[in-house]
Amino acid sequence: MQQTFVQPEFRVKIDYDKCHKCGRCVQQCGWGVYDFNERPIPHDEKCRACHRCVTYCPAHCITIEKNTLAFRDNDNWSTDARKAVWKQAETGGVLLTSMGNPRPYERIFDKLVLDACQVTNPSIDPLREPMELRTYLGRKSDSVAVEPNGTGGFKLAGSTGLERNVKLDTPIIFAPMSYGSVSLNVHRSLAMAAERCGILMNTGEGGLHEDLYPYQDNVIVQVASGRFGVSPEYLQRGAAIEIKIGQGAKPGIGGHLPGEKIDREVSSTRMIPQGSDAISPAPHHDIYSIEDLRQLIYALKEASGYKTVGVKIAAVHNVAAIASGIVRAGADYIYLDGFKGGTGAAPQVIRDHIGIPIEIALAAVDQRLRDEGIRNQTSIIAAGSIRSSADAAKAIALGADVVAIGTATLLALGCHLCQSCHTGKCSWGITTQKPELTRRIDPEWGAERLTNLIHAWSHELQEILGALGVNAVESLRGSRERLRSVGLDEQTCRILGVKPAGL
């Protein structure tokens, strides 16, 4: 057999003087790195540097190092580029990878800074003053009328549609990740945490497992091109319905869950045969125009009793015009996913080279909808590498109502960004369906960690609002005057609607 040219990326080193020979590393590794013959013997080429063995080694005797094998320096042909050519020459395949784009594109969030109050306009102490993080997802009326409430005050008159908005206690929700791409225990953790935090989780395109029915008021159910798991009951159960058109990590690319991951449970949740590939191509075959999209939006509304229906798209060139069409098609919210967003599986070339940053897309869409006078007709969810509460605050200042987090939630559950979700061998039990691995996530433990994360970011958002001297997150939305750029070029500043620092 032909020897591969691709050398191991990492070196697994065991200090055998300290090693207990307990075999824990052998059990913990989902990648099959270790053999055991009186002591664990690693096969470097299988290691993904996920640190599961390192974390659970009782003797702390394992280290994983980058394989520093010298390649002749070449600024044009990086080592990774050379490895990719070798791999493709060996396999003839499309290189498949997962998680977000790791390439060093400019991180615009890191070049934006927030304002703070000083002398004349005092800041607010979030420890003593109420800070309103509550927000509502959905279409807001063009105007409202009030009528007497009978006790000397007023109430909203008639049906304004506002009652169909979905209430969020904090402007952060969990991004769509399908059952199939992640394990059921991950879905349980997300659903429990969403309920506790008063926010939403999202089924992705894999259907809603019946174990999640008790959390249905905190679940967005997704409808993608494969229509996996979509039945009238599924539509009735969701708090909102989302049509998935695109995903930031792979704009214009569909989903493909390999047949070996379609076990009985995944099969019954997706409502597809066991063992067959689950293919959901990028186009919905009943959507070829904005009018077709409108038809699907209203079909979903008719079937669900006029629930909130949103549309998820990837951030791409000319996204503002697309978003305008989506609002006019009747979408109650637009989910914008930037090109650094994560994925369970994508061709590497797509993930790393297609799409635009969420910051740019968000600012362009918000401005376009304001210019057209239809910004109130939709909410905007921004996603695609929201890494911290600071990113969340900056996204809200650029025009988002809500941010969605995916990779950050998986990190909270143990993910070490080894970027190998598509293999289905995740040692942390997150992106796998192997029972011996999925049981590593205890839903109660997972829910607690996710709840902690949301609470921590929410407190930080309150601190940021206090520093800005506003007491409601809705006052920050689209408030670009409170942002400045450090080191962004003039054109980017203009699109973002943000002044350079010093002005």
Binding site: G93, S159, R227, S231, G259, S268, M271, P281, Q348
Partner: protein, 278 residues
């Protein structure tokens, strides 16, 4: 004056040729006739749901002229809806158990993402019929358009069946993952057309397509095998044809008098070797 968004509660009046008013209804025991003439789909479908909730078992919609979403998301069994006229897009979409019979043509998306139930159309139908359909039966008497039966899929005991009596355009059964798709080529408006267009069964990885007559390999996706239907195949097909013939008032023996071509996937994993893991 309070403005209301059109999607929530449209104002009364004539917009796009429809009236946003409740239709007039005639009751006769558990049989109901609803006059759909010029009535907007929201009011029409509200009336259908109200009548089902009030115990109606047979609902006749008269004067239908392109109203969308008839029977959309209905989750009842033992109720029959009769449509007099031309049914609009997405009829029986997300349907789950209801029986619908159309005495006229239907537009696009009949049985879209349908879970169960039975739809009979005594005329032609448009594009994307049975998209993502995972149960129930859809019978069309005449010709159908493009992208019919895309993504049809079976699941446990739910096996969808879609029979088209006339001819079909391109992408018939594309990405099909389960169920049975039948094309008869009999009650067609256009004898000069081939029985099916191109890309028949492209990306197909489950289920079976039966065509009454022959198709050329160039018309089909690369993933399928084309054979003449055997006796075992006909044993599977015969009860479907008999049911269809009864629903359409046709002769099953005449339909079965010509040989059928069977088109089925060669692999449940057509794209398994396309990728290399980094």
């Amino acid at each position: 004056m309070m403005m209301k968004p059109a999607s929530v509660a449209p104002p009364a009046g004539v917009i796009e040729g429809y009236r946003y008013v409740a239709p007039s209804i005639e009751r006769n025991g558990d049989a109901v006739t609803i006059d759909a003439t010029g009535v907007y789909y929201q009011q029409l479908n509200d009336a259908v749901r109200d009548q089902i909730a009030a115990g109606a078992k047979t609902i006749t919609l008269s004067g239908v002229n392109g109203q969308r979403y008839i029977g959309c998301g209905l989750r009842v069994s033992g109720v029959k809806v009769e449509v007099q006229g031309c049914a609009g897009n997405d009829m029986a979409m997300f349907g789950d158990g209801t029986e619908i019979e159309v005495f006229g043509n239907a537009q696009d998306g009949v049985g879209n993402t349908m879970s169960n139930g039975r739809v009979v159309v005594h005329g032609d139908a448009g594009d994307v019929l049975g998209y993502g359909m995972r149960g129930g039966r859809v019978y069309i008497k005449g010709d159908v358009g493009y992208r019919v039966g895309i993504h049809m899929k079976a699941y446990e005991k739910l096996v969808p069946v879609l029979v088209c009596g006339g001819k079909a355009r391109d992408f018939f059964g594309e990405y099909m993952a389960g169920g049975m798709l039948v094309l008869l080529g009999m009650n067609t408006r256009d004898e000069a057309q081939p029985i099916a267009g191109s890309f028949l069964g492209a990306g197909m990885h489950g289920g079976v397509i039966y065509v009454r007559g022959t198709v050329e390999p160039w018309q089909c996706g690369a993933e399928v095998g084309i054979t003449e239907a055997s006796e075992e195949d006909l044993a599977e097909l015969r009860p479907v044809i008999e049911d269809y013939a009864t629903a359409m008032g046709m002769d099953a023996a005449e339909i079965l008098a010509r040989p059928f071509t069977r088109i089925a996937p060669m692999s449940h994993r057509p794209y398994a070797k396309l990728y290399a893991s980094m």
